[in-house]
């Protein structure tokens, strides 16, 4: 009898631990909405998300809260990082999975683990002291730029893209490779026409996941993006500074009060939604791949 009660008690305790994560997620949503929603309803969701001017501490006139340049900034630096990291990452993954001798494979694998471990603030710092002056001196502009942010984010995204793509490539059945090679195709032709297409959905999932992570990253971009809350002009000028949503929160939260603080929480809501949607797409892509595989 006694034993039965204690067994039940333990199960309830374990259930409570398991429920903690979902409770925290619920609390995060409640607090974001509680703090952020008033300003969104006050300004209007359209004006908040598509407004061009962020001027929370207005000396003259009313403060304005438009985060459109920051939404663009977040996507801009994240997509920029993918443009750099995806081809390079896939090349490294193909190298790892297909042609690396075992010593090279273990060397690269360990290096990637080392790269994952480097705290983002240190990558941002290296970007600040190496990359920003380099861009300023050799490419022009202020140095703090979309380009600098994209490069730093690409370095952060690289390990994840490499390891998931490596797994996806290695999951391609040996038969496919053998069949193609037996038909007289070269190794590279086999990689390009057989292996990469078969591994495509896994690689796509990796890329979307990397995008979500890049949009959610704070410290590394905060230190190199320049943090000017305007659209780059002209829009394709990657040497212009931007202020991604994460930087906006990190920069101003320490002194914001009243509506201003609310607007930062509202920025957090938008950021949360964007990242959650991307994560969901990536999970779906991974799941559908599991379904197809035998």
């Amino acid at each position: 009898m006694n034993r039965k009660i204690s067994e039940k008690l333990i199960e309830m305790l374990l259930f409570a631990s398991a429920a903690t994560a979902i409770i925290i997620v619920a609390l995060i949503l409640i607090f974001l909405v509680k703090e952020g929603l008033p300003i969104i309803t006050k300004v209007g969701i359209i004006d908040f998300c598509l407004g061009m001017r962020w001027n929370p501490i207005a000396m003259v006139g009313d403060p304005t809260y438009g985060i459109f340049p920051m939404i663009v900034g977040s996507f801009y630096v994240a997509i920029g990082s993918l443009v750099l990291a995806v081809p390079f990452g896939i090349a490294c993954a193909v190298f790892l999975a297909e042609i690396a001798p075992s010593w090279a494979r273990s060397l690269l694998k360990h290096s990637i683990e080392l790269l994952v471990g480097i705290p983002s603030v240190i990558l941002g710092f290296v970007g600040l002291v190496l990359l920003v002056p380099f861009i300023k001196d050799h490419l022009g502009g202020w140095g703090f730029s979309i380009l600098a942010s994209s490069i730093i984010l690409a370095i952060m995204a690289l390990p994840r893209i490499i390891s998931i793509s490596d797994d996806a490539i290695r999951a391609v059945p040996m038969d496919y490779r053998d069949a193609s090679l037996a038909l007289g195709a070269t190794h590279w032709y086999t990689i390009r026409k057989v292996i990469l297409p078969s591994a495509r959905s896994g690689i796509v999932a990796a890329v979307i996941l990397a995008m979500a992570t890049s949009i959610g990253e704070t410290m590394a971009v905060l230190m190199v993006a320049g943090n000017v809350s305007m659209l780059p002009s002209p829009i394709y000028d990657i040497l212009d500074p931007v202020r991604p949503m994460t930087s906006n929160i990190a920069l101003e939260m320490s002194y914001a009060t009243g509506d201003h603080a609310c607007a930062l929480f509202a920025t957090g809501i938008v950021l949360f939604i964007v990242v959650a949607v991307l994560n969901a797409i990536s999970h779906r892509a991974l799941k559908s791949r599991m379904g197809v595989e035998r």
Partner: protein, 282 residues
């Protein structure tokens, strides 16, 4: 193009490019680590490691930041490890295939995807203001707990699932209860994997900055209690670098933080090797 270049040439060229990509990846890592070490190694000394900062950190040492980082990790791990392992045991051993279980797993996935700055915002609103913990070791540590909890649940669940079913059946057949089986048979078999996961979790949390910016505070004084504010090492690096206080000090602090992360990862690898278990890190 393929008509102009023979397949064999293309094959050779492609392999050169792939080798080069791998080489560049190694080069990037070497440049980052090498630059920091070369710039910062002359700052490292006993008085730097064990001294107190002066002039907002432009001179002196970083001991309070090291101690602050240590206490943040202690709070984060003491709170996340029991809950995380408990959750993993429930999910791997007890959970019925039901909608409730699906919601719980979904919650873990969701929490893992929340951007760190949003966790920081939430930690500020909930822990510092609503619960009244203020800017303190406690707020910062609990906010870090929100961040590492999903990781600990996931790695623990994976290690528990690799324990062969025969172990469980043998124990149950001897008349042990479910909890006895879990506690005496399943957990001991899964403990190397769980330990490795927990240590890697510390490695992830220790360099985190955005989560603790508005929760742990930025005091450069030595923390004396859970309710004292601290400035963790990564935040210290950020302030030194971005406010232009002192680059050399930032390099020195970066080396210390890198050594900590490296030591933690090596410890995890050592445990993994020692138990000779196949452990996949993603």
């Amino acid at each position: 193009m393929s008509a102009l270049i023979s397949p064999v040439t293309a094959d050779k060229a492609a392999k050169v490019v792939l080798w080069a990509s791998a080489g560049i990846a190694l080069l990037i890592l070497a440049v980052i680590l090498g630059y920091i070490v070369v710039q910062g190694v002359h700052v490292i000394s006993l008085s730097f490691l064990l001294g107190s900062p002066r002039l907002s950190g432009a001179e002196g040492g970083i001991l309070p930041a090291i101690v602050g980082t240590f206490w943040l990790m202690v709070v984060a791990m003491l709170s996340s490890v029991p809950i995380g392992i408990g959750a993993a045991i429930y999910l791997a051993e007890y959970a019925p295939k039901s909608a409730v279980t699906a919601v719980i797993s979904f919650g873990v996935e969701c929490l893992a995807g929340v951007p760190s700055i949003v966790i920081g915002l939430f930690g500020y609103a909930f822990l510092s203001i609503y619960l009244g913990f203020g800017f303190s070791v406690l707020s910062g540590g609990l906010a870090l707990m929100f961040m590492v909890l999903p990781w600990i649940v996931r790695v623990s669940e994976e290690s528990i699932k690799t324990v062969p079913n025969a172990f469980r059946e043998a124990s149950l057949a001897l008349g042990a209860t479910k909890w006895q089986t879990v506690r005496r048979v399943v957990i001991p078999s899964a403990i190397p994997g769980i330990t490795t996961g927990v240590i890697l979790g510390i490695g992830k949390a220790i360099g985190e900055t955005a989560v603790i910016m508005f929760t742990a505070g930025s005091s450069l004084l030595m923390p004396m209690s859970l309710f004292d504010p601290v400035r963790a090492l990564p935040y210290h690096i950020y302030i030194l670098a971005s406010e232009g206080i002192s680059d050399p000090m930032a390099y020195g602090s970066s080396i210390v933080l890198l050594v900590m992360v490296l030591a933690i990862n090596l410890a995890a690898i050592a445990i993994q090797r020692h138990y000779g278990r196949h452990y996949v890190r993603n």
